[in-house]
C-alpha cells in the first residue's frame, strides 16, 4: 500500500506546488526566525526524546521476556473481541458442565449461588434441578443438630473441602484456590487460565519436577501441584459439541470469567446507553458553549489613543 502510494505520488509529494497557499503556510511557521543554534538545540532535543522512547520500549519488552515463566499469548475472547461484545452464553453453560464434572473435585466456587445461573446459563427449572443435586448442610434444627438437605436456588455451590487444611492434606500440600475470581486475580486473566489448562508438557532437559508436581511453563516457577485435568473427550457436552481439550479449556475459562464478572453483559448494555446519551450531551454542550461564546470570540478590541494634550 505504502509502496504503491510512494510510486504514484512520490515525486509530487516531494515537490512543492507553485501555488500561493503553501507559501502562505510557510509564513506561519514559527521556526523561521530561529537562529541556527536554537534549531540545532531543538532538533537534538527531539532526537534525544525519540531515542529515549525507543530505549524505553526496548527495555519494557526485553525485561518482560527475561522472566522465568512463559507469558501466555493473547487469545480472541468473546468479551474482548468488540466494543460492545457480550458473553457467548452457550459456551458459559458448557463451561459450567466442565467445572461441575472436572474442576469441582478440588476447586471451590464459593461466591456463586445457583440463583445466579438463572437467565444466564440455565432456565429456572434447570438451575433448581442443579441445586437439588447438591446436598447442603443446614441447621441447627429444633434439636440443635445439623442436617443435610437438597440444595435450593439461594444456596451457594458447595465447597469440595470443609477447610483449607483439609484441601491441602488431600492435595499434597498444595491449596486449590477458589475459582470465582480466578481470571481477575491472575496476571494475564483468561489467557493465563487457558494457557495453564492447555500448556502441560514434559519438563525440558535439566529441569526436575518433584514427586506430586507437574511441569507447566506458564505457571510461575514451572512446577504446579495440579495435574493436567483436561483431555479430549473427558466429558460429554449436553449440547453435543465435540469436547476437545481446547474446547473444554475455552468453555471453562469463559465460565470462570463470567463467575468473576456476572455483571459484564449489563455493563455492556449501560455502555451502549451511556455512550449514546453522552455523545448527544457532549455535542449539545459543545454547541451551547460555542454559541454563547461567539460574541466574545468575534469582538474587536480597539486601542483608542488618548487625545493629544492641548497646545499652550
Amino acid at each position: 500500500m505504502a509502496a504503491s502510494l510512494g510510486r504514484l505520488y512520490g515525486n509530487r509529494l516531494l515537490k512543492l506546488k507553485p501555488s500561493s497557499i503553501p507559501k502562505q503556510i510557510c509564513l506561519y511557521s514559527t521556526a523561521q526566525p530561529w537562529t541556527k543554534g536554537r534549531k540545532a538545540m531543538l532538533t537534538s532535543l527531539g532526537v534525544l526524546t525519540g531515542g529515549a522512547g525507543v530505549l524505553l520500549y526496548a527495555l519494557e519488552n526485553s525485561v518482560k521476556a527475561g522472566d522465568l515463566e512463559l507469558h501466555p499469548p493473547k487469545y480472541p475472547w468473546d468479551v474482548t473481541s468488540g466494543l460492545f461484545s457480550t458473553f457467548d452464553h452457550a459456551s458459559v453453560r458448557r463451561g459450567y458442565e466442565v467445572y461441575k464434572n472436572v474442576c469441582a473435585a478440588c476447586h471451590s466456587l464459593q461466591f456463586v449461588a445457583y440463583r445466579e445461573l438463572v437467565g444466564q446459563t440455565h432456565t429456572e427449572e434447570e438451575a433448581k434441578a442443579e441445586a437439588e443435586e447438591a446436598m447442603i448442610e443446614d441447621g441447627p434444627d429444633a434439636e440443635g443438630k445439623y442436617f443435610k438437605r437438597p440444595g435450593k436456588l439461594s444456596d451457594y455451590i458447595p465447597k469440595p473441602y470443609p477447610n483449607e487444611e483439609a484441601a491441602r492434606a488431600a492435595n499434597n500440600g498444595a491449596y486449590p484456590p477458589d475459582l470465582t475470581y480466578i481470571t481477575m486475580a491472575r496476571h494475564g486473566g483468561q489467557d493465563y487460565i487457558f494457557s495453564i489448562l492447555t500448556g502441560y508438557c514434559d519438563a525440558p532437559a535439566g529441569v526436575t519436577v518433584q514427586e506430586g508436581q507437574h511441569y507447566n511453563p506458564y505457571f510461575p516457577g514451572g512446577a504446579i501441584g495440579m495435574a493436567q485435568a483436561l483431555y479430549n473427550e473427558i466429558i460429554e457436552y449436553s449440547d453435543g459439541t465435540p469436547a476437545t481439550q481446547s474446547q473444554l479449556a475455552k468453555d471453562v475459562t469463559n465460565f470462570l470469567h463470567w463467575t468473576g464478572n456476572p455483571d459484564h453483559d449489563t455493563r455492556m448494555l449501560y455502555l451502549l446507553k451511556s455512550m449514546i446519551i453522552m455523545s448527544v450531551l457532549v455535542g449539545w454542550s459543545f454547541y451551547w458553549k460555542r454559541f454563547k461564546w461567539s460574541n466574545l470570540k468575534t469582538r474587536k478590541i480597539f486601542f483608542k489613543p488618548p487625545p493629544p494634550p492641548p497646545k499652550v
Binding site: V63, E116, A185, G189, G260, M275, M278, F286, K292
Partner: protein, 367 residues
Amino acid sequence: MKKNFKIINNFLINLPTPSNISYWWNFGSILGVCLLIQLISGIFLSMHYTPSINNAFYSLIHITRDVNFGWMTRVIHANGASMFFFFMFIHTGRGIYYGSFLKKKVWISGTLIMLTLMATAFLGYVLPWGQMSFWGATVITNLLSAIPYLGNTLVSWIWGGFSVENPTLNRFFSFHFILPFILCLMIMFHLIFLHEKGSSNPLGLKNKIDKISFHPYFTIKDLYGFMLVFIMFLFINFKTPFLLNDPENFTPANPMVTPPHIQPEWYFLFAYAILRSIPNKLGGVLALFMSIIIILTLPFTMNLKFKSSSMYLVKKILFLIFCSTFMLLTWIGAKPVEPPFILIGQILTVIYFSYFLVNPFLYKITK
C-alpha cells in the same frame, strides 16, 4: 438567606473572570465534580461495607454481586479515585506552568488538599482487604518506623497492635469517611483565597484588564468540560472497570503470603519510585514527602517578569522535561527493583528535584 444567595452569586454567577483563560482552567471545577462523585458513591458503599478483617473482603463481594447497582457504585468509587488524581496532577501542572503558585494562599491550601487527598486515597485502598490492600498498608505504615527514636512506637500506635490488624482497618475506615469532609472545608478555603483576587490567566497579565461574568460563559464552558469527562469516565467504568486494579486485590488478604511485586495504585507510583531510589530508609521517606512538599517552594523561588512559562522557551522545555520525568517515574514505580530500573529511577529522581533547583536560576538567564 439573602446573604447565602449573595455568596452563590459571588462564586458562580457574577464572579469576574478573565476572558482569556483556556481549557486548562477547567480542571478546578472538574475536580469539584470528582469530589462529589466520590462522596456520593462512597456514602452508598459505606451502607453495605463491613470494616472487619473477617468480613471486609466478603462485604465487597456482597456489594458487587448482591446489592442493587453495587457493582456500578464500586467501580465508580475505585475509578473515581484515579480520575480525581489524574485531573489533580493536570491542575497542579497547570499551576506550575502558568505561575498560579504566586497566589501563595491558594497554592498552600491546594498543596494541603493534595496531601489530604493522598492520605484519603491510601486509607481507602486498604478497605477492600485484598492482598495488595494489606501489603500496601504494611509497607506504607512501616515507612514511619524510619523516624528516629519515635518510629516504632508511632507505627504500633497507628496500627493499634503489633501488625496491620483489625483495629487498623477500623480506624482507617473512620478516617477514610471523615477526611473527605475536611477536604470539603479545605476546598472552600481554596476557593475563598482564589476569589480574593480572581483566577490567573495564560498570559500572566494583570487580571483586572478584561473580565467577564462567570455565568453564562464559564458555567457553560465548565459544563462542556464535565460532559467530556463523564463520557470518558463512563466508558472506563463500563468497558474496562478493572483496568487500573491490581489482580492481587482479588485475593483476600493473607499475612502469611507476600505478593511477589508490592506496588501502590498508579497515582502513587512516582513517589514510590522516588522512595525506592534512595538507598537509605529515612532518606527515602524524606524524599517521598519532599516530592510533594517541594512544590511549596515555588512561590518563594520563582520571581520572573512574566508569570507564565509560555513566555520563555527554556522554561517551556524544562517544564516538558519535568512532566516527562513525572510520567517516567510512574513507569519505574511499577517495575521490579532490579537493574536497569534502579539506575534509571535514581537519574529520574535527580531530574525531578532539579527542576525546582534549576528554575529559580533561570531568571538570570532569561532576563
